[in-house]
Symmetry: C4
Subunit: 272 residues, 4 copies
């Protein structure tokens, strides 16, 4: 009887922690997201010198509270899940562990502390909560559009990488060390800053020839953004249009019906 209760409890805890469809499960997930968000805020505030000086103690207390909560959660997850190894070595399992370890590590070594920010990866769990809504479908459309265009994007990235290597080297030759283009890697960094239109201005060309070449790189960078945009957009528009079936109405023989159509929009007859 006790073993039965034990396994019942385990099942119940499992449903709360891993499932998000029940009210309890949803509440747990939302509570977890709030804890993650708050613990990220605590870590951020701790990195600000003036705040650490005034309420550092309090923040340390909060950090330990969150660490204990996350440790309990981790232990419960390992306890209730059936395929323990699979969970522990899964992406989520590793992130869950990594988001509690640094606090314990900080007891024996300083600096480990900052690794806590890995907790922000846990924010991905927010998608789990959103799963309940229409978000997963939308996310999948995004993913499948990106997946379908991955070859084109690879070609595009190769062109960009080759371009910035060549542009960076060229500018290194033209501008030289005295104008801030101190070596080829730095010049390539400049080329990326320029091509992506970020333009910090920490390094900028000062010779007329350098400014001319830079102008060409800028116009190139300004223009080729059209390529990834075109790729992704064409893919998305394609997937969007696929929603219309090629089904023909058996009554009036017209086509162009939506995927979710039950009746023909022209004659009102039932579709197959």
């Amino acid at each position: 009887m006790q073993a039965d209760n034990y396994s019942k409890l385990k099942k119940k805890v499992y449903n709360i922690i891993f499932e998000a469809e029940t009210p309890m499960g949803k509440a747990f997930d939302i509570g977890l997201i709030i804890c993650i968000l708050l613990s990220i805020v605590v870590i951020m505030l701790e990195s600000v010198d003036s705040i650490k000086l005034s309420i550092g103690e309090l923040l340390l207390v909060f950090e330990w509270i969150f660490t204990v909560i996350f440790t309990m959660e981790y232990v419960l997850r390992v306890w209730t899940v059936k395929k323990k190894k699979q969970y522990i070595y899964s992406f989520y399992g590793i992130i869950d562990l990594l988001s509690i370890l640094p606090t314990y590590l900080s007891l024996v070594m300083s600096g480990a502390h900052v690794l806590l920010i890995l907790r922000s990866v846990r924010l991905i769990r927010v998608f789990r909560v959103l799963k309940l809504a229409r978000f997963v479908g939308e996310g999948q459309v995004l993913m499948s559009a990106l997946k379908a265009s991955r070859h084109k994007i690879t070609v595009f990235l190769l062109i960009v990488v080759t371009s910035v290597i060549l542009a960076g080297s060229l500018m290194y030759m033209i501008e030289g060390k005295e104008n801030g283009f101190s070596n080829i890697p730095t010049s390539i960094y400049w080329a990326i800053v320029t091509l992506t239109t970020v333009g910090y201005g920490d390094i900028s060309p000062s010779t007329p020839l350098g400014q001319f070449v830079a102008s060409i790189i800028m116009i190139l960078g300004y223009g080729i953004i059209a390529i990834p945009t075109g790729i992704v957009t064409a893919e998305m528009a394609y997937q969007k249009n696929k929603v219309v079936t090629t089904e023909v109405c058996p009554h009036c023989l017209q086509e162009g019906h939506d995927k979710d159509a039950v009746h023909c929009k022209y004659c009102g007859g039932k579709l197959n």
Copy 2:
């Protein structure tokens, strides 16, 4: 008889102030927009020290003139509108009040003055004037495209937010306080500046590793702009090609019917 005249006047004023279809109403709206624009210019000029020094008195006079005009307009609106409470607590009502209060407040407390800039929100009224033309339809297409893609945009924003938190924390660890990445919030601010390709250059990486990571963030930011663009564009192209009406089926109350639909695609019932 007098009460009749009174209510006739009220009706007439209402038509001038709230309706934009009559010549008088249109003239009122255009005059109002010009007043709003001029009053914004006055507030802007007042904030410039050199101008305030030379013609500050004159600007103050203008400000009071516009405030009196807007106050009269507000009183007339409250007087003529039937559902007074609904107007007062509506978005427009609150904005209308907020755009006159600061001038009166500035009599008792200094600094309140600057709040006058809230008047620029009143510029939204410009859309009311434009309503007469084709603009509302166009604006609705924009709105419905954005509304239809709001789930995808939420997913996108969540990815962006998670990315900048991680990227900012990573750069805080790599670059550290001595290179301007003085704490995690500042580093996240830098990551946003970089990912959105704004690139002020007030903070910029100086270590080779930092520049390498920054380069990846830049290329990422340069590329993922394709995602919101793709979402919105696909949606707009879809709406352009296949205009969905806002008509509701009188039988099953479902909406989302094509413009050329004669029967409801869900229940087969005849549409109006």
Copy 3:
């Protein structure tokens, strides 16, 4: 007889100058473009102090040569064209005049000189030369796409303008004069620099709250670029698809033929 020769010559000169279909007319247009380009280069070089010091005399000679050429061209245009007034007051006529006046003006007043750069507007003539090729059609597609989306773009620009006025004023209140946001117009300039992702960095927020608000403006600016892009793209895709006619083949009754199709692509039968 002489009058006949005179009008024949006038006709011939007219054809050379205004028409671009004959070999002579084409040669004239290309020669003109080259002259315009060279005269722009001369004006640019003259503005560089070091170059002006060494070859300033030579550049002045060239400037006068080009001015004389353009003056002759202008005189010939006025002489040969039938509707003289219409040409003189047309956009092209005014630009043609404005591109020779500054040199003459520079004889009596210094500084007028720099206005010569208006000559670069004459570069638009390049489209006339290109007209011979397929370019006009392509340009027209661009124009008609932009024209068809002008209402949507107006709505978009109104939103952008209202946003930058509000954002600028907000930042003026938050950051204040001591951080470079010295008055509202300057703050609005900063907001435009930020929203358009230009990001000079001549003014940048330094308070935590200011950086937070700036981050939101950046993400907004990064995202809303999707709107004009979506508008123009959807319009272009729409116009591109319109190329397919709804004509049905009279032989096999299939449709989906290109606009330039003469024969049915399915049965080879002649289309109407």
Copy 4:
């Protein structure tokens, strides 16, 4: 017999070097890419002063090793290829030669060294390896989309060039030498930096009028990015939906036929 063996060996070497379908050929290509990548890294590291100081000798050794490898490869290519002249004067042939020459040149003249970075152009070979996969088709779609929109892009570039010349000259007149706009070419460089939303901030307007004009240029630059994006996207969406073959009609030699076309749409003749 020996001649036979010799030609067999030549054939075999040819297959390894020029073909990528056999396992040996694939291994060769991948090995080559790795060598190219490593040699680029060596050249980059050599340009960093601190690294050159500590392990400069080692890097020089590596550079000679890669040069010898690439020299052997070049000799083998020339030896095995049938149309020797065609290869030597081809794009690939010239790049292959240019990527070994600088090292030899550096023996007689210093500085030639830096030209080695031309090796990065050899990275294009990576597409050859990828050819095995689906990449060529994807690359071709990209290319044909760009090719189909080359007229529109030319028109767009002409507008951009005319705009930056005018905007640059205007700002030169407004801001003048004392604010960093020291001559027209520099001002045009600034206009490009601004229009492309790069925004280094090395030159930025400081007069109110200059900031106002700059704001207009920024909003223009922010908006017109929509044009190339629209062009490329519409083209890609079009190609995606209606795949046009590269088949030429055997009767009238015209191309541009749809994939499902059976007859030529121009002459009605049967396609293969």
